[in-house]
Amino acid sequence: MTLSVRDLSFAYRKTPVLTDVSFDAEPGGLLAILGPNGVGKTTLFRCILGEQKRYLGTIAVDGENMRGFSARETARRIAYIPQTHGMTFRFSVRDTVLMGTTHTLSPFAQPGRAQERIAAEALEKLGILHLEDRSFDTLSGGEQQLTYVARALAQQARTLLMDEPTSSLDYGNQIKVLSVVKELAAEGYTVLLSTHNPQHALRYADRVLALLDGRVSAFGPAKEVLTPALLESLYGTRAELYDTPGGPVILPVVDQNNKKGESQ
């Protein structure tokens, strides 16, 4: 599914949060959303998910305007993968994934064998079927994140919205989660992923949307968009790009004795 955002503006009590944001996210591609804290990434997600309705502009999936969609209509098209967080109550991994199928059920129905099969398939696909009886809160951060991804697959929406999936993961789990997401994109899912790590964007994303002060600062193929100039304008810190046999690498410039980092 192609997600198109056109001229999206949103203000919170007259303070503009997003201004004229336009971009497309296409199936088979991974779009990384970069930007400093408080730039409106979360607000953007909330608008796309229909949680914030008072926005200007249009958000459309495959040409269909999503304004006025019910929660269920949105859930059919877009799956949200939150950051891992504590749960008030202990649900098993199976039940957590099963919750993804809720929008396919009538309001008074309980998930049955058909839904359990869908959940099991999603777990199987991500290679975490062996965790299904575990309690969600006993999982590692990476396993929790994969469980959320499985839940999104069980939801059977073709667009995945990920809110900083790697923010609380250790290095190994970051790579594991990103590889899974990359594979899903290659399978034809439309993936939007917000991240604080430009290196991740460079390594895994096909396109990058850089937000600054609620505006699109840059949008395009990752390798073209991610320049030292952009990074400096986004984060206020200097970084350089280096070509290595494994692909381009972003390294922050370490200021030693006021020498600029070009000595490398």
Partner: protein
């Protein structure tokens, strides 16, 4: 195995709770000052059913019990036992529902103030208002939501208890005051068969939607945005669940007075037995809640020569449980 859950375990726990309830139900009918042997109780009940079907005219049963036995079982104990089951079931279901809706393991009819009302006729309306008030205060206040809800509950509760105190002050000390006092302590004495139906109808009206929506209650406990993103109309669902839970609380209170702690303690106990999935938790809470209140009521009417108000007993059991809850190391409080 880290979780309790899964189809088989759920079915097993629910079956056991049902069996427990049935056993307690029949055993409770034999308890009391006036002794009625167990088999006579069964025969009396069977006779009643038999008569209801009209088959007794074809196949009459031999009456082997005294009229006093029948009167004790049918007119005194049965209504009381049925009411204890209904009230226990309702309060526990309301507790489980409130805990899910407010994603707060401390939420319960008493803490939310749903059970501090005392004018029966206005009970439902004022309960809804109280819950709404507590909820709004807790949401508006900055800081931790779990704590906010409890603090808001305490404050609104004390506001209403001020009202109660005033009513006690102006009440007629010879008849109104004792009635109010006993009512506030909760009691199932004096329940008649005829008073069950008016309470059972609103209870059923609240319990059925709760049971039907129990899967979605799980999603609501994940929080607003996540539940919404999973396709749930959160505003509507929350409103329906709160309305139903408050309705059954109000209906319980109208028949039994204020009985605290059940709605907090039972869902917690059941979470240990069957897990947090409300597909199992809600029915389990209802069954265990019914058994629990029945048991406590048995104690209440048999332990001492004078009856101990049931609310006192549930507090004696509930408060230590609450302390244990606070001291427990697990972080899933």
């Amino acid at each position: 195995m880290n979780t309790v859950g899964g189809r088989k375990r759920r079915a097993a726990v629910l079956l056991m709770s049902t069996v427990l309830l049935f056993v307690l139900f029949f055993v409770s009918l034999t308890f009391g000052r006036y002794s009625v042997p167990f088999f006579d109780v069964i025969k009396i009940l069977w006779h009643r059913l038999w008569t209801l079907t009209g088959l007794d005219r074809v196949l009459p049963m031999t009456v082997s019990w005294t009229e006093a036995m029948e009167k004790t079982v049918i007119s005194i104990r049965l209504p009381r036992i049925l009411t204890a089951c209904l009230v226990g079931c309702s309060l526990s279901a309301a507790g489980a529902a409130f805990q899910g809706v407010f994603k707060n393991p401390m939420a319960s009819p008493d803490i939310l103030g749903a059970s501090t009302q005392f004018i029966t006729i206005f009970s439902f309306v004022s309960s809804i208002l109280t819950v709404a008030l507590v909820f709004l205060i807790a949401q508006r206040a900055p800081g931790q939501r779990t704590v906010n809800l409890i603090l808001a509950g305490i404050m609104v509760g004390s506001l209403f208890s001020a009202g109660t105190s005033y009513l006690k002050l102006v009440a007629d000390p010879s008849n109104q005051l004792p009635a109010i006092t006993y009512w506030l302590m909760g009691s199932l004495s004096g329940v008649r068969l005829s008073s069950i139906l008016p309470a059972a109808i609103p209870m059923a009206a609240g319990l059925v939607p709760l049971l039907l929506l129990r899967w979605r209650l799980n999603l609501l406990s994940l929080g607003e945005s996540e539940a919404r993103a999973l396709g749930v109309n959160t505003d509507l669902l929350r409103a329906v669940l709160i309305l139903c839970a408050t309705l059954i609380t109000a209906a319980s209170i109208s028949v039994s007075g204020v009985i605290g702690w059940v709605g907090l303690v039972i869902p917690h106990l059941c979470r240990k037995l069957i897990g947090s999935d409300n597909r199992g938790l809600l029915p389990c809470s209802m069954l265990v809640g019914a058994s629990f209140l029945l048991l406590v009521d048995d104690v209440s009417r048999n332990l001492l020569a004078t009856e101990i108000p049931i609310g006192i007993l549930t507090a004696v059991i509930g408060a230590p449980f609450f302390i244990w809850l606070l001291l427990r190391k697990e972080k899933t409080l």
